[in-house]
């Protein structure tokens, strides 16, 4: 990957440079976060001309390494005000890597009010006016179909929906998946940054692209085989995720009393089986038609946690129908209908909003009296208003913190204004430390301590006790920052957490591709350096340790059934980043 592309939307200038020296050894999150910290003014307004948006494939993307097709997107977040790295599946990452593109940067902002499409091919980068057909309320499904028809079925597409055009803080960037459906770089409002730069879509045409060069092909193939075996032989990454999707977590979190419900006032519900992964699997199987229990979000995925969820007639509704979305609408908002939740998931993908942020905002809006508790039809209607956007649509699209403020609530589940997802920090204490301290704002994927606390993969900690949690949250965040830099799906963790040879194979693949001799110590150092870069940006943006705290209500509202409160002291929380 030897090209570093900069598109300046202020001047219309396009530069195709050699990769700057300091970024040659980086990929994915390490690259996007280093770049944002180097070039974005930390105090800039995220929607102003000084923010920059960067897309970067991971170190292993574009190779035959299983599950290496994740793309990192970075900028200063309009939701949190912090640095943001958000990663996604789809075909974009592998195409960028095969085209030799280390990174694509969009900077500046045009003075006129038109939207544009950036088209990147092997020998050209062009800025074109966006076709009117995909503007002004056109959903992402139709827009992707239109652009695919216009530019060819194999093109990669990154697009913002109506929410991104309106620069709402929950706007995501959607990516075409192998079948023309949608994957999302969901969290932190990066779609609003793209919308602020008046870029409706980026099209990648990889016609003429070669293969990614591998320094030592034999070694690479051997390591990839060991790695694939580690993933396939683990019951979670090999079978469980494919069968039930991530939604299998509803029942285990519910049983453990860690399923935040009715705006974080209960840890367990009675209607869990209406929204569980077991029910989703049975429903898809029974309905048939377009339904698929198992589906991969990018080529080369062997875990296949995604699925196609069909309606009663067997017609596709949505894919990538994740636990966190289903939890937020099903348990936190109390909507007892998986079909309505599926239509809401589709609507959020189509409008281009983060389905975690907006779904938690729906639950908060119910507590605030904007919507009736548990009313799925009302929630779906309100979500669709984000595309217009009506005042209610703008409020929901503003995210959970905005909803909490306009409703006058103290019980607003956010950290750094990003909604807390699907695991209650009072009864899954390790994940609370990640929510509090990650540079991203509340984000379970930044250090998934649920694994050792509840799932007992890669660790065994008592979820109700503080013992060992600080060290665990630290090591999980460091490891995750490294994995996010490789282009690997985070779920490879389940396959390699308890498999030293699987973990070594991941390092061996990087070494074989680049002709390096990294050790596991180097990988830890990479993770640490990424987190330090991100913390540095946040510090310069005005964030202090006082922002690394959970909302106060967790300290004094005990969560049934275990009646736990959040009891880490500020000094203990600050220990997580003592490295």
């Amino acid at each position: 990957m030897n090209k570093f592309i900069r598109v300046n939307m202020s001047s219309g200038e396009i530069e195709i440079q050699a990769v700057p020296n300091q970024y040659i050894g980086l990929g994915g999150r390490a690259l996007t976060s280093s770049f944002v910290n180097d070039e974005v003014k930390p105090t800039c307004h995220p929607l102003g001309k000084n923010n920059k948006l960067i897309f970067a494939p991971g170190l292993l993307s574009g190779t035959s390494a299983p599950n290496s097709g994740r793309l990192s997107v970075g900028a200063k977040s309009p939701l949190t005000g912090t640095i943001k790295e958000c990663n996604t599946g789809g075909v974009f990452s592998q195409q960028m890597a095969k085209m030799g593109i280390k990174a694509l940067v969009i900077e500046g902002m045009p003075e006129d009010d038109k939207f544009y499409v950036i088209k990147v091919s092997m020998d050209n980068v062009a800025i074109e006016e966006a076709p009117v057909e995909i503007l002004g309320g056109c959903g992402n499904y139709d827009a992707i179909a239109f652009l695919t028809e216009k530019h060819g079925k194999n093109v990669g597409i990154a697009i913002v929906g109506p929410a991104g055009e309106h620069r709402l803080p929950s706007a995501n960037i959607s990516f075409k998946d192998p079948e023309g459906n949608i994957r999302s770089a969901g969290r932190g409002g990066l779609g609003a940054v793209m919308g602020s730069k008046k870029v409706k879509a980026v099209i990648l045409d990889d016609t003429g692209a070669g293969t990614v060069p591998i320094a030592e092909p034999e070694k690479f193939r051997a390591a990839a085989k060991v790695f694939a075996n580690a993933l396939l032989s683990h019951p979670v990454s090999g079978q469980g995720l494919a069968a039930y999707g991530t939604d299998v977590l509803v029942n285990i979190l519910n049983e453990a009393g860690g399923l935040p419900s009715y705006n974080f006032t209960q840890g367990r519900i009675d209607h869990n089986d209406i929204i569980s992964g077991e029910t989703m699997n049975a429903t898809i199987t029974e309905r048939g038609g377009d339904g698929k229990v198992s589906h991969g979000c990018h080529r080369g995925c062997i875990i296949k946690c995604s699925q196609w969820y069909p309606d009663k007639q067997g017609k596709y509704i949505t894919s990538g129908f994740e636990y966190e979305t289903i939890w937020a609408l099903g348990a936190d908002a109390g909507i007892k209908n998986l079909d309505l939740i599926a239509y809401a998931d589709r609507a959020m993908d189509d409008i281009g909003v983060d389905s975690i942020e907006v779904s938690v905002a729906v639950a908060t809006a119910m507590e605030g009296g904007l919507l009736p508790w548990g009313d799925g039809e009302a929630a779906l209607d309100a979500i669709k208003q984000i595309a217009v956007p009506t005042p209610l649509g703008r409020i929901l699209g503003g995210g959970c913190a905005v909803v909490g403020k306009v409703c006058g609530l103290y019980r607003t589940p956010v950290v750094k204004d990003q909604a807390i997802p699907a695991y209650d920090p009072r009864s899954v204490k390790g994940i609370g430390l990640t929510y509090a301290t990650t540079p991203m704002g509340a984000d379970h994927t930044a250090g998934y301590c649920v694994s050792g606390n509840i799932l007992k993969v890669g660790g065994d900690l008592d979820p109700l006790k503080k013992d060992g949690q600080i060290e665990y949250a630290r090591s999980m965040q460091i490891g995750t920052a490294a994995v996010d830099s490789t282009g690997m799906c985070l779920f490879v963790y389940f396959g390699i957490a308890d498999s030293p040879e699987g973990y070594q194979a991941l390092i061996d693949m990087i070494n074989a591709q680049y002709g390096l001799s990294l050790t596991s110590g180097d990988v830890d150092k990479l993770g640490e350096s990424v987190l330090k870069v991100e913390r540095d940006f946040n510090k310069r943006a005005g964030f202090t340790n006082a922002h690394d705290r959970l909302p106060e209500f967790f300290e004094y509202e005990a969560l049934p059934p275990h009646n736990q409160v959040w009891d880490f002291t500020p000094e203990e929380i600050d220990e997580v980043y003592n490295f």
């Binding site: 039930y244 049983e255 992964g277 077991e278 007992k456 779920f491």
Partner: protein, 74 residues
């Protein structure tokens, strides 16, 4: 004494997902797996009243005992 037993994910295949059992005071979660014909190797997580537990744990009247295979997500 009476307890409630819950099964999840693959453990539900061809079995009831929830049942009330009348057991002896010395019966352990491991004994109940034997009774239900579930190989211990298929069970990764045991919870009693929402707390992680072991195959040889003691059970008391009205406990809820839950068995899970290896599961993950995120």
């Amino acid at each position: 004494m009476k307890i409630k037993v819950k099964l999840f994910a693959t453990l539900r295949e061809k079995r009831e997902k929830e049942m009330d059992l009348e057991i002896h005071e010395t019966t352990t979660p491991g004994d109940i797996l034997d009774l239900l014909g579930i190989p211990q190797s298929e069970v990764a997580i045991i919870m009693i009243n929402g707390r992680h537990s072991k195959l040889n744990a003691s059970l008391t009247e009205n406990d809820t005992l839950a068995f899970f295979p290896a599961v993950g997500g995120g």
